[in-house]
Amino acid sequence: MDDALRDLYQQTILEHGRKPHNFGRLDPHSHAAKGSNPMCGDRVVVTLTVDGGRVADIRFEGRGCAISQASASIMTDLVKGRPLDEVRTLLDAFTAMATTGETPGGGLAEDDREAIRLMSGIHAFPMRVKCATLGWRTLEAALDNQSQTTTEAQPGKQEAAR
């Protein structure tokens, strides 16, 4: 197996892919969104409860490749219990990492940076970046009170999918 593949499919990622954390649907919830990748048909649903400015609880469900499932699983672990401003910082950091391969330094704790860097292997696979960002984009849509998004929507300016 070559290095790029080994970086992408690390054991941790494979494990998250096989047994995703926080899998399922949170009911009741305060925020929810459906995300899809029209290129490949992958779908995720993110449900969460925001309480006192924090993500009190979060779940995701969906079907898709190991990358999209692992990325969403890691995301739920990362944002659970966190204040919303930190969640936004993580979201931006993850999006930047997936598209540039670089993890921005500013405002991130070392643990967070490491967690986000877990998926940095995706950068060598441009066609798969959207698999990694699907869960995050769906979380963003949920926080913006949009019920649907797709990986084709522009970051920060989500259009409602028809």
């Binding site: 197996m1 593949l5 494979l14 048909g41 490749c65 190991a66 990358i67 696979f125 066609m127």
Partner: protein, 416 residues
């Protein structure tokens, strides 16, 4: 394949010789020899086509049907000769029954817009199959959205073959058109087109075949099929992209309104009126993809020069061998197992998603397609979001199948 045919194949049709005519197949990816199994998406090009393209631009290039100078005459001759090659390839009665389009998507839209749209009223029915590619679905959805057409979907059996009884029941006096694939790009299923066309014609219903895959693997004979419309696309036929064709019976072409308006498709334009050219030019507005058309002609000439029965036996051997190898592993699940299928193998694998499979085996040099193959209704029918698809061409070999299997076994180690 009989032992007899197996013995004859190498003499009549040598896949290694054919393979040597495709320069790209000699390249490596990630330091591994390329195994190209994404032919249903697009096929590679032989030297004969590359040379026709080079000559088209380097020696014989000018606009067609306009200039009176030497090069314009020459390129017009070549362009029209390509039309004649397509007519010969499809066994059309006349070259005028061939319209150049930008591909089969364009050809299908042409039929929907120029033939069907003026004839469809609310409640009229169009019969499709659940196997269709989005290109043969969306133009009909337009007629549903805009004119109230009703789409009727013929179902398939679990093995991917068409449910003929159900198909026949869908044909009613409201049916205006049957628009179906000749061969499924997602499963490889070959439809019994001649029989289906006879059923439709018995009720006075015209039939459109999407020949995007059929033209590549079967040798369609539009007169024998008695088909009304047949769409092909160049890039899957070992030719260039950006070019394809629609065959339509002359009687339909004469009765069809123009498609797009512009130069080349008119007889006379005044400030008050316009009259249109005869088919096929009526449907070919603007400067066409000239050299691409010439390249498609070269590709079909190349195909017609092959020993076709032997070539088909080779493809049949490849797909039979692939199914045999897949059958050795209970974690691989082929979709579409009817005997009536061409050289396409779609499958799912326990524990690994098609995208992960595709990314993984790509690094072993094996190119396949993963996704819904622009056939989402079909994916829904099997309740899978996506499949992995290995699709074969004349230049593939049993060794390519073995390389695919080796890569899948490695993939299995990682994901199982």
């Amino acid at each position: 394949m009989s032992a007899d045919a197996a013995l004859k194949t190498p003499l009549a049709f040598d896949p290694l010789k054919v393979r040597a005519e495709f320069p790209i197949l000699a390249r490596e990816v990630y330091g591994k020899p390329l195994v190209y199994l994404d032919n249903a998406a697009s096929a590679q090009k032989p030297e004969a086509v590359l040379e026709a393209l080079r000559r088209g631009y380097a020696e014989e290039y000018a606009n067609v049907h306009r200039g009176l100078h030497f090069l314009s005459n020459r390129s017009t001759e070549r362009y029209e000769a390509a039309r004649a090659s397509i007519a010969r390839f499809l066994n059309a009665e006349r070259a005028e029954e061939i319209i150049f389009t930008s591909g089969s998507t364009d050809a299908l839209n042409l039929v929907a817009s120029s033939w069907a749209e003026p004839r469809i009223k609310a409640g009229d029915e169009i019969v499709l199959t659940i196997l269709e590619h989005h290109s043969n679905i969306v133009p009909w959805h337009y007629l549903r959205e805009r004119h109230g057409a009703v789409l009727k979907w013929a179902p398939i059996h679990d093995d991917g073959s068409l449910d003929m009884e159900a198909f026949e029941k869908l044909l009613t006096d409201r049916t205006k058109l049957v628009a179906i694939t000749h061969m499924s790009n997602a499963l490889g299923t070959i439809l019994p087109a001649k029989e289906l066309i006879a059923m439709a014609h018995a009720r006075g219903i015209p039939v459109l075949l999407d020949g995007s895959q059929g033209a590549v693997h079967l040798r369609p004979d539009v007169r024998d099929l008695d088909v009304d419309f047949y769409a092909i696309t160049g890039h899957k036929l070992y030719g260039p992209s950006g070019i394809g064709a629609l065959y339509a019976k002359r009687e339909h072409l004469d009765a069809m309104r123009p498609y797009r308006g512009g130069g080349e498709m008119i007889r006379e334009v005044t400030m008050e009126t316009v009259t249109y050219a005869d088919p096929p030019h009526r449907f070919e507005a603007g400067t066409p993809p000239i050299v691409q058309a010439i390249g498609l002609g070269a590709a079909l000439d190349w195909m017609m020069a092959l020993d076709w029965p032997a070539a088909q036996a080779h493809e049949a051997d490849l797909i039979a061998y692939a199914h045999e190898r897949f059958g050795q592993f209970n974690w691989l699940h082929p979709l579409g197992t009817t005997a009536e299928k061409g050289a396409i193998l779609s499958f799912t694998m326990d524990g690994a998603h098609p995208h992960d499979i595709s990314t993984f085996i790509d690094r072993q040099g094996v190119a396949v397609r993963a996704g819904h193959h622009c056939a989402q209704p079909l994916m829904d029918r099997y309740d899978v979001p996506a499949t992995t698809r290995a699709s074969f061409a004349l230049y593939n070999t049993r060794e390519d199948v073995d390389r695919l299997m080796d890569a899948l076994l490695k993939c299995r180690e990682l994901f199982a």
